[in-house]
């Protein structure tokens, strides 16, 4: 089924591509893992693409393929895009890592940008990612200030380092305010199933948490929180429209500035290979307005954000692992490599990490 869908999508893209070639516009292309209408991950990447169109205007032409599976289909999609005249291709899911590097080897004149990966086998491949955990840390600080129960509910997707990092950063942020703060974790084992995300939120609330945060893509959880009259955080985009009396803030994936910079580099002919892991300071991670909280909490949240922008890394010791053993000594900062492969909890998480 997926293959069929993809074949149709690819054909469509080829038509679009064929219609407007042989001009001096630079063609920038994207492939997305989900539909642009998911209001989450792919939606935000597409917002970035639109920003490129808006800012670079008639210097560029953009093309995207949505719902491309992380399989051999991805390789074919990339190959097609490369042949159709794309000068730069953004591959926006972790699973596109190997296809990206493979195709990059065959098309040395096309620049490839892979999100959230680490392989750069050829000089025309760059990688980029965002330090979402910086935003999670701020959320943790807010949660500990706002929660009366001293326990927050965390709806997680899959036990990969990215998600584990988020949970840990949230807990560390919360413990910086209240050392006894606890987090209950529910794994939905899906990125996207509004019904199940809502059920998970209900289960957590029934068990006494009074703050909900999530690392899944839909707005279902925050809507449930609104219904039950507790506070919650949005995810990936600003979800305030869904819960105006509920959302405390939201981590917004802001890919636009990076995309504009990289596409512009191709237009100007000075693109260079790079590995960017940008956070709040670089504008990759933006916090939605701090709402539904007293002024002192807001001030603390803003101060924390400023501290992180000033170079503070949430994973700075002393930090103990969940089992009580020492991880980071006082003042010691976790290495990027360790964080990107994180597979254990810090102390204070009320869950056993699935391996």
């Amino acid at each position: 089924m997926k293959k069929l869908l993809f074949a149709l999508a690819a054909t469509g893209a080829m038509l679009v591509a064929g219609a407007a070639s042989a001009q001096d516009k630079t063609k920038a292309c994207w492939i997305y893992i989900g539909p642009t209408g998911d209001f989450g991950w792919s939606y935000q990447h597409d917002q970035g693409r639109k920003q490129v169109e808006a800012e670079l205007g008639d210097k560029v032409e953009t093309v995207f393929l949505e719902s491309v599976p992380e399989s051999a289909d991805a390789e074919r999609a990339l190959e097609n895009l490369s042949r159709s005249g794309c000068k730069i291709i953004f591959t926006t899911s972790f699973g596109y890592m190997d296809p990206t590097n493979k195709v990059a080897g065959r098309f040395p004149d096309v620049k490839f940008e892979h999100a959230t990966g680490y392989k750069r086998d050829h000089p025309n491949v760059s990688t980029y990612n965002s330090k979402f955990h910086e935003g999670r840390y701020v959320q943790g600080v807010i949660a500990a200030k706002m929660s009366k129960a001293g326990v927050a509910g965390y709806i997680a997707s899959f036990p990969i380092p990215e998600v584990v990092m988020g949970i840990n950063a949230f807990v560390l942020g919360a413990q910086s305010v209240n050392p006894d703060f606890k987090v209950k974790v529910v794994w939905a084992n899906t990125w996207f199933d509004p019904g199940k995300e809502a059920d998970a939120a209900k289960a957590l609330i029934d068990q006494g948490v009074d703050i909900i945060t999530q690392h899944t893509d839909s707005t279902a959880a925050i809507q449930v929180a609104a219904e039950r009259g507790i506070k919650a955080f949005g995810q990936a985009s600003d979800m305030i429209a869904f819960a105006k009396d509920t959302q405390l803030t939201s981590i917004i994936d802001n890919w636009g500035p990076y995309y504009v910079k990289r596409v512009k580099a191709v237009v100007d002919g000075n693109w260079e290979q790079s590995d960017v892991w940008g956070g709040m300071a670089e504008g990759h991670v933006v916090m939605a307005p701090y709402t539904n909280m007293p002024d002192d909490v807001k001030a603390l949240a803003e101060a924390t954000e400023a501290k992180i922008k000033g170079g503070f890394e949430p994973f700075t010791g002393p930090i103990k692992k969940q089992d009580g053993s020492d991880w980071l000594k006082d003042g010691e900062v976790a290495e990027d490599g360790v964080l990107l492969g994180l597979n254990f909890y810090v102390a204070g998480v009320d869950d056993k990490l699935p391996q």
Binding site: F39, P194, D199, D206, P354
Partner: protein
């Protein structure tokens, strides 16, 4: 609201869309037609319900529009498989693909908008009773429709002449045809009913379960409904049991996780499927009864000979 009551309410919400879609598909299959397009019809219902409710402000109008859309969409399937006698499996799959794509297109400008939620009913006094109050007298109207649907379908199939006729078409369309029964007309009616139910189930998702529209928001529930019908060996009350069991284990596993019992979450996530299949297979282990309940002409094309 006590915790037990809250859990039971959550289970009812999780089970209701499965139950409604499965009940429609049960009637379709009892008439001898296999429509694998449930997911597609559901998602069309979800988007239609959302769009109409959002535009008019009335969740009821949304529900009605979703029912009509589901029925209309299933007629496409009916026309292809019953009139043009295309392959039912392939056509059903195509219907699902079409529905997923088309709904995405229809709902494009509605992504990210807060929906209109259908509110629960409230009967003064009764709805405030401890434990059973909200559960029996305080749920959303569609929940009651879903229960009525089970009673109605069960009564219709096994207690009325029309139901008997429909089952005879599903068991042997040739014999039914020889008796002068209008096989194609009955199948059209069954397919349309199935579509209407799937549409309602979809709208339940976008108007009650989680009032929002996002692409592919049914997330495979149509397929679960299909499986429930087969594993319940085409018996309405077993479908009800299956849907609630599935809902209960789904919610139960989320609670087990929140309690931090340390059971691997991947196993817990698979549990609803395992438990439902196991239980339904066990209650259907009487081979002869199962054979009796299986529509013998299921999925076979019918071309009347003149």
């Amino acid at each position: 609201m006590g915790m037990l009551e809250a859990i039971l309410l959550t289970i009812a919400t999780a089970a209701t869309p499965l139950l409604i879609a499965a009940m429609g598909e049960l009637v379709v299959e009892r008439s001898g037609v296999l429509n694998l397009g449930v997911e597609g019809m559901m998602v069309m219902g979800a988007v239609t319900g959302f769009v109409v409710a959002y535009s008019t402000g009335s969740p009821w109008l949304g529900m009605i529009a979703a029912v009509l859309m589901g029925a209309a969409f299933s007629l496409l399937f009916g026309f292809l498989t019953l009139t043009l006698v295309t392959n039912q499996v392939a056509t059903g799959l195509a219907l699902t693909l079409l529905g997923l794509g088309l709904s995405g297109m229809m709902g494009r400008s509605f992504v990210g908008l807060p929906g209109v939620k259908m509110s629960a009913i409230y009967i003064p006094g009764l709805s405030d009773l401890p434990l059973v109050g909200k559960l029996v007298f305080g749920q959303d109207p569609i929940f009651y429709i879903s229960i009525a649907l089970v009673i109605g379908v069960s009564y219709f199939l096994f207690r009325t002449r029309a139901g008997l006729t429909l089952r005879s078409v599903g068991d042997s369309h040739k014999s039914a045809h020889a008796l002068g029964i209008k096989v194609i007309a009955i199948r059209y009616a069954a397919v349309t009913f199935g579509g209407a139910c799937a549409g309602l189930a979809g709208a339940y998702l976008s108007l009650v379960y989680v009032p929002q529209w996002v692409e592919n928001m049914t997330a495979g529930r149509g397929w679960i409904a299909l499986a429930l019908v087969v594993f319940a060996s085409w018996r309405p009350w077993r479908v009800l049991a299956g849907a609630y069991l599935f809902g209960a284990v789904t919610i139960g596993q989320l609670h087990a996780q929140a309690l931090g019992l340390g059971i691997p979450s991947q196993l817990l996530s698979a549990l609803p499927y395992l438990a439902t299949i196991l239980v339904l297979v066990l209650i259907s282990r009487n081979r002869r009864l199962t054979m009796m309940n299986t529509p013998a002409s299921l999925g076979q094309p019918f071309v009347p000979d003149r």
